[in-house]
């Protein structure tokens, strides 16, 4: 494991432990953003040539 990444995990874990009422305020937009980015990307991909086929293949829908 990368040392700097290890440090980040430790720091954030400590923050979550010490701030049980507030960590979700930071965490929720982060998780939601992952899905928002995914959805935006799929919309862009869908508009490209063969985009719909690629999406179906990605999710095993063929």
């Amino acid at each position: 494991m990368r040392a700097s990444h290890q440090d980040q995990i430790e720091r954030w874990a400590e923050f979550v432990r010490n701030n049980p009422a507030t960590w979700k305020k930071i965490h929720t937009p982060f998780i939601n953003a992952i899905f928002a980015k995914h959805k935006e990307f799929l919309e862009r991909l869908r508009k490209t040539p063969h985009g719909e086929e690629k999406i179906k293949e990605m999710f095993g829908l063929q």
Binding site: K25, H27, I31, I55, F59, L61
Partner: protein, 247 residues
């Protein structure tokens, strides 16, 4: 001459009095009754606004926070689990447990282990999932997907018309899974009304069985966040079981 000063004083005094009286009269005319009433009304509005802010700070903000604190994965998982719980015992394991405990990483699916249930119960479960807006990616026919489960293959559910997130469901396949179901916990820190596999079980699986960099980081994170719940002897015992049953 000698009475001049008193008379002057009197004049001055009366002058002063007249001046004050005139000012008052002027003030009274300038600020008509209408204006005074308007000012009183404005002040009242200010008090009402201040009081409403005080009340909203006390009662509405926490409600607002509760709603906004649920991320997409939380909402999906809670709604799905609420239905499954009516039909069988289940646990959520691995990645989502770690994310629900605060780890900042993504996942596409949530892993769920359920106890083995007869076909008719499974059909009812699928019917309710369908009614509540979920669909199975493999097949809409519960009889078909039941075969997958019997073969120890997981089946995937999403919200209708959406690709992500997914709930990956599988039957408990051995005594280790049954043991996990028996040890299930609700974790207050997650803020979710969902049954999870125990922390010790998840750490042991990630360190002994899965072992990818991501899984080792997850295990480290769980050890830190749930420091007081980590029992090394228990983890060792579970690792022994994993070696015996799965490896």
């Amino acid at each position: 001459m000698c009475i001049a000063p008193p008379s002057r004083t009197k004049i001055l005094c009366s002058g002063c009095f007249r001046t004050d009286a005139n000012n008052l009269l002027f003030s009274f005319r300038a600020f008509s009754v209408k204006r005074i009433l308007l000012m009183a009304y404005w002040r009242l509005c200010t008090y009402v606004f201040a009081i409403s802010l005080y009340i909203s700070d006390d009662k509405m903000f926490p409600m607002d926070r509760q709603v906004s604190d649920r991320n997409i994965l939380d909402q999906f998982c809670e709604e799905f689990c609420e239905i499954v719980e009516k039909y069988c015992k289940y646990i959520i394991v691995s990645g989502f447990l770690v994310i629900a405990s605060g780890r900042t990483r993504g996942t596409e699916d949530i892993d769920m282990i359920i106890e083995r249930i007869p076909l008719d119960t499974f059909v009812k479960l699928c019917k309710e999932l369908d009614d509540k807006g979920f669909e199975c990616m493999q097949s809409p026919q519960a009889e078909n997907t039941y075969e997958y489960l019997l073969d120890n293959t997981s089946i995937r559910f999403t919200r209708k018309g959406e690709h992500l997130p997914e709930m990956e469901m599988k039957f408990a396949k051995d005594e280790l899974d049954l043991f996990q179901l028996g040890q299930r916990v609700k974790l207050e820190l997650t803020g979710l009304n969902v049954w999870f596999g125990s922390i010790a079980m998840n750490i042991a699986f990630k360190e002994e069985y899965l072992k990818s960099i991501k899984d080792l980081e997850d295990a480290k994170y769980l050890r830190l966040v749930y420091k007081e719940m980590v029992d090394e002897d228990e983890i060792k015992a579970i690792k022994k079981m994993i070696k015996k049953i799965r490896l």
